[in-house]
């Protein structure tokens, strides 16, 4: 395998400035196919800005990035077609039923109708949501909503799925079930790019990057990060790095 096939995300000195403020400052990293990549950082460190660029939603000020083989600045539409995205704030339509949400998103991504029908049943069975097929999404508990949102985000089998704080506010049991879904998707070959404020979840990633003031301050496996910072857990690693931040 050459590097182009292997790495599904490659960022090279990717930068985004708003006036005099550099939100993302020349970040370089790559993510391999099928990897679970944790993208950590304090509030305001630049994670969301970086993620929006990688999803083709905003253009870099300088530097470049390839996502699923496409250039994020020149081919944003192809980027969008090859990724899935879910955030804590928005991922499903509250006033649509469970099956309507699946149909809508799968349709947008061009999944065939027959395939949608087959996979909808399969997905709902897998999530234990078969009885909620006709329920309005707003009536589902947050944990179920998040699991459904994830399944919708990977329904079209994208090469990469971007997850922006998918487990924020979710209870400990549901969080763990959510990570099992992530794991299964990664085993099917879907690359996972995930942000979280739960440091135990950083441990479930293959590799983790930690952003401080717009730059990547550390990037390695959780095990190596713990070893090099002589820390008991990722929480300690994070605190030591984030404390050096000078901005919010």
């Amino acid at each position: 395998m050459n590097t182009l096939e292997k790495d599904v995300i490659v960022a090279d000195r990717l930068t985004k400035s708003f006036g005099a403020f550099t939100a993302v400052d020349r970040i370089c990293f790559s993510v391999a196919g099928g990897e679970i990549f944790g993208f950590l950082g304090a509030n305001g460190a630049g994670k969301t800005t970086a993620m929006r660029m990688l999803c083709g939603l905003s253009k870099p000020t300088s530097g470049s990035a390839q996502v699923a083989g496409f250039d994020i600045a020149r081919q944003p539409e192809q980027v969008k077609r090859n990724i899935g995205y879910m955030s804590q704030k928005f991922s499903l339509y509250e006033d649509l039923r469970v099956w309507e949400n699946i149909c809508l998103f799968a349709g947008i991504y061009g999944v065939k109708e027959k395939e949608i029908r087959r996979k909808t049943t399969e997905t709902l069975d897998r999530l234990g949501l078969a009885r909620e097929r006709n329920t309005l999404v707003k009536d589902l508990p947050l944990g179920w909503k998040q699991k459904l949102a994830f399944s919708v985000a990977v329904f079209h089998e994208p090469r990469i799925v971007f997850l922006d704080e998918p487990t924020g506010g979710v209870d400990p049991i549901t969080r763990r079930q959510f990570w099992e879904l992530i794991r299964e998707a990664a085993e099917r070959g879907i690359t996972i790019f995930v942000t979280t404020h739960y440091m135990d979840e950083a441990e479930y990633c293959n590799r983790v990057s930690i952003m401080v003031d717009g730059r990547i301050a550390a990037l390695d496996t959780p095990l190596s990060l713990r070893a090099s910072f002589r820390a008991q857990n990722m929480d300690e690693v994070f605190r030591r790095l984030a404390r050096k931040a000078t901005r919010e």
């Binding site: 950082g41 304090a42 509030n43 305001g44 804590q88 508990p141 947050l142 944990g143 704080e165 924020g168 506010g169 979710v170 209870d171 400990p172 049991i173 549901t174 763990r176 990570w179 099992e180 794991r183 404020h197 739960y198 440091m199 135990d200 979840e201 950083a202 441990e203 479930y204 959780p222 095990l223 713990r226 857990n233 990722m234 929480d235 994070f238 605190r239 984030a242 404390r243 931040a245 919010e248």
Partner: protein, 309 residues
């Protein structure tokens, strides 16, 4: 208007008696009773949909209970709602300040509504607000998540409430800011402010004087964090291994294992009995199990699963 007082003459921060609340036939709270002392830092934990926000809304006089009574700082939440509202601060789960007003204008507005000035109680919010100072002319809607949270707390505190209600104030907040936030709650408690706070983070539950665990609109237990951890009925083992997802699957299939969960860099395992633990460990001597003191998160998972079955 009579106020109910405790032995010291001060009314408890919160008293709920047999509260029931349903929405369109769906039960949100069932026969909920609770008492929180003055000056207590009290935590509410429970999964989404367990009724935490409904309880906040009843205690802050925003919605009435179907039956039962509640008092906050000695004021009945229905009858004395006007007095109550001057005595409480509320930070709802959803950002609810005025996005078109600046940081400074929002704070000023809340101070004015409560008949006070920003200067009068500035000492309460100094630490938080200092970090907002450089952005005081920015519109609230344009703030980052962490800063919105700091502004919301400042606005809830500016009239020096006796009781502070915080509905998931740290959801979406990074670990360093969370720690700072809780250090500040401690200091507010030391100023005599009673605090009821809900959180999905179990490490935060540890920092409360007492915690109530809620599920399906009921309170399952009210204890100090230490009591809760001491009452975990079984031995719990920590297992540090590589490829934890694989081990997790294997352990769950083993007949000796009652439960196995991921805990960051380790797994936490509970066996069906001490004999099972011994048998399993004898058969797998290479696995380094260490008996540990249960964490709040272990207790939460255990109680949730128990009542779910």
């Amino acid at each position: 208007m009579e106020k109910r007082c405790d032995i010291t003459g001060a009314p408890p921060a919160v008293v709920c008696r047999s509260i029931h609340k349903s929405y369109k036939g769906v039960k949100a709270l069932t026969n909920l009773s609770l008492e929180i002392s003055k000056g207590e830092l009290f935590g509410l934990i429970g999964p989404d949909g367990s009724g935490k926000t409904t309880l906040f809304r009843i205690l802050t006089s925003l919605i009435p209970a179907d039956s039962g009574t509640a008092e906050v700082a000695g004021w009945d939440v229905v009858r004395d709602y006007r007095q109550l509202r001057t005595q409480m601060g509320y930070m709802p789960g959803r950002f609810s300040l005025y996005p078109d007003l600046t940081v400074a204008e929002n704070l000023q507005f809340f101070a004015t509504v409560f008949n006070t000035t920003v200067a009068e109680n500035y000492h309460l919010i100094r630490e938080v607000f200092q970090q907002l100072e450089p952005f005081k002319n920015r519109r609230a809607g344009k703030l980052s998540g962490g800063m919105k949270q700091k502004l919301a707390l400042s606005c809830a505190l500016i009239h020096k409430p006796a009781v502070l209600f915080l509905d998931e104030p740290t959801t979406g907040v990074d670990p360093v800011s969370r720690k700072e936030f809780w250090e500040m709650l401690r200091r507010l408690k030391n100023e005599g402010i009673s605090i009821l706070v809900s959180t999905p983070y179990m490490d935060e539950a540890n920092r409360c004087d007492r915690i109530a665990l809620m599920q399906h609109g009921e309170i399952l237990s009210v204890e100090t964090p230490a009591q809760m951890r001491a009452q975990f009925p079984k031995k719990i083992y920590r297992l540090e291994v590589d490829r934890r997802f694989g081990w997790l699957e294997m352990l769950r299939k083993a007949p000796e294992v009652e439960s196995a969960f991921l805990f960051g860099e380790a797994l936490h395992v509970v066996f069906r009995s001490d004999a099972d633990a011994l048998a399993f460990r004898t058969n797998a001597p290479a696995l380094a199990f260490t008996e540990i003191r249960p964490e709040i998160e272990d207790c939460f998972i255990y109680l949730m699963n128990k009542t779910e079955k």
